[in-house]
């Protein structure tokens, strides 16, 4: 049927459109980018925010102004390779680093429950176990290893090494892709309009062609799905040339807050994402807020205080937490 529609144009096209070359060089354009990118490690070193400003020294004044504004809240950036996996890779490192630094055992227990839920989702969607189980196992292994006190515990340096080692890094990225795809397909009715607006395809096609294959870039849909599935809030700070304020530039951010059912505490207003990513059109890196350390310590203590029902100390901790969040107070690590 298709051929009849095309008949009118076919004659003119036949000579020039044999696509043998096309298929042989599938993705040929990407190779250049890949090669160029392979000089950047999967996950880079932590760099001061001034390194970001240096990139735009002779560039857009709006961007420079925005980076200055960023400096009020953020101190450092960690770059990831722009190979299409940068969102997942940034999320991976940022999350595992957070667990390593906070030793948040409660968070690890919580996310493991969600991971098991994701496993069931994939099974119920008809995925064969062996296609995804190795990726799940490797992520769970990393989770256990960043907690100290086990035989297999790892240092921050080793976490960085593993994040740069393709055999670990890509497997964890693929784990996130499976989780994301499962969540989108499970809630296909919710995601359908977004996906249709984005790519004009069905949910299933979208997952098959834009979520599951390595190197496919992430969009709002991916971030929402991953954040929901794992119950991890994510803040994305946008750095682009847009400016709406006449008075002065401001930097927009968007918080991806998981559906309440998936969250540790039900009060979604007080959710403070511990993962902050910097988005520049087409790419994600990791951002480090100024006030990182102590807020997490307080937040994770809250769970313990709640567990042992120490109300007075809990209330005091909450007051400090609210004040510091509101006023962006930076404190030393205890």
């Amino acid at each position: 049927m298709q051929n009849q529609e095309e008949q009118s144009t076919a004659d003119g096209e036949i000579a020039g459109t044999c696509e043998i070359e096309d298929c042989a060089n599938f993705g040929g354009g990407d190779d250049d980018i890949m090669q160029q990118q392979s000089s950047v490690p999967f996950v880079g070193d932590k760099e001061p925010l001034s390194a970001l400003a240096a990139e735009y020294q002779s560039g857009s004044p709006i961007l420079l102004e925005k980076i200055k504004v960023l400096g009020d809240k953020y101190v450092a950036i960690r770059r990831t390779r722009g190979d299409g996996n940068c969102f997942f890779r940034s999320f991976m490192f940022s999350y595992l680093e957070h667990i390593l630094e906070t030793q948040g055992r409660a968070e690890v227990e919580r996310i493991k429950v969600n991971v098991e839920e994701c496993r069931k989702t994939l099974q119920s969607l008809g995925y064969v176990d062996f296609t995804f189980e190795d990726f799940f196992a490797l992520f769970l292994e990393q989770l256990d290893d960043v907690l100290q006190g086990n035989e297999t515990s790892i240092s921050h340096e080793e976490l960085l090494n593993r994040s740069r080692d393709q055999s670990v890094s890509d497997y964890v990225v693929m784990f996130f892709r499976f989780v994301t795809s499962g969540e989108i397909r499970k809630r296909s009715q919710f995601f359908e309009p977004f996906i249709f607006g984005l790519t004009n395809t069905t949910v299933e096609q979208f997952c098959k062609s834009s979520v599951e294959p390595m190197g496919e870039e992430s969009d709002h849909v991916h971030i929402t799905a991953l954040s929901d599935a794992l119950g991890v809030p994510i803040r994305v700070v946008y750095l682009d040339r847009s400016s709406c304020d006449a008075a002065g530039v401001s930097v927009n951010h968007h918080d991806f807050i998981p559906a309440p059912g998936n969250l540790p505490s039900a009060n979604s207003e007080s959710i403070n994402p511990f993962i902050t990513l910097l988005y520049r059109p087409g790419h994600y890196d990791i951002l480090y807020p100024k006030w990182m350390g102590h807020l997490y310590v307080i937040e994770s203590s809250l769970c313990i205080l709640q567990a042992i029902n120490d109300v007075p100390v809990m209330e005091a901790a909450k007051v400090i937490l609210e004040y510091d969040k509101k006023h962006m107070v930076a404190r030393q690590r205890p």
Partner: protein, 157 residues
Amino acid sequence: MQASRARLFKEYKEVQREKVADPDIQLVCDDSNIFKWTALIKGPSETPFEGGVFQLVFSVPEQYPLQPPQVRFLTKIFHPNVHFKTGEICLDILKNAWSPAWTLQSVCRAIIALMAHPEPDSPLNCDSGNLLRSGDIRGYQSMARMYTRLAASPMKG
């Protein structure tokens, strides 16, 4: 390397278990090398490939399943998306749309689906693609059927 071996071993066990489940696909692992597989697939019914049995060869890379297996037809086939001389297959899941969610078995299923639904707009076999693109369905089908009889007929051994 270890990971790919482990994964392939799981696929091997699954294939043994599912043998009866999919009578159109017979996937066999090389006795001495788990990275080499062959498959016999039946040409889908109501296509010019009906009645034919086609042999595929798989070469699995060490980065499998993060990277796709290389697959080609060993049996000659007249199809827009299969190279007439080398048997190379133009299929997105074997290139940029690959993901570890696919298995050797499901790749075979995708190839059977491709046989039934050729994509003449990205041809590896221009003659075959041009017949379809110019609307000469009958010409395409008779060529394809002829090669099925010549090369893929089980009778001829």
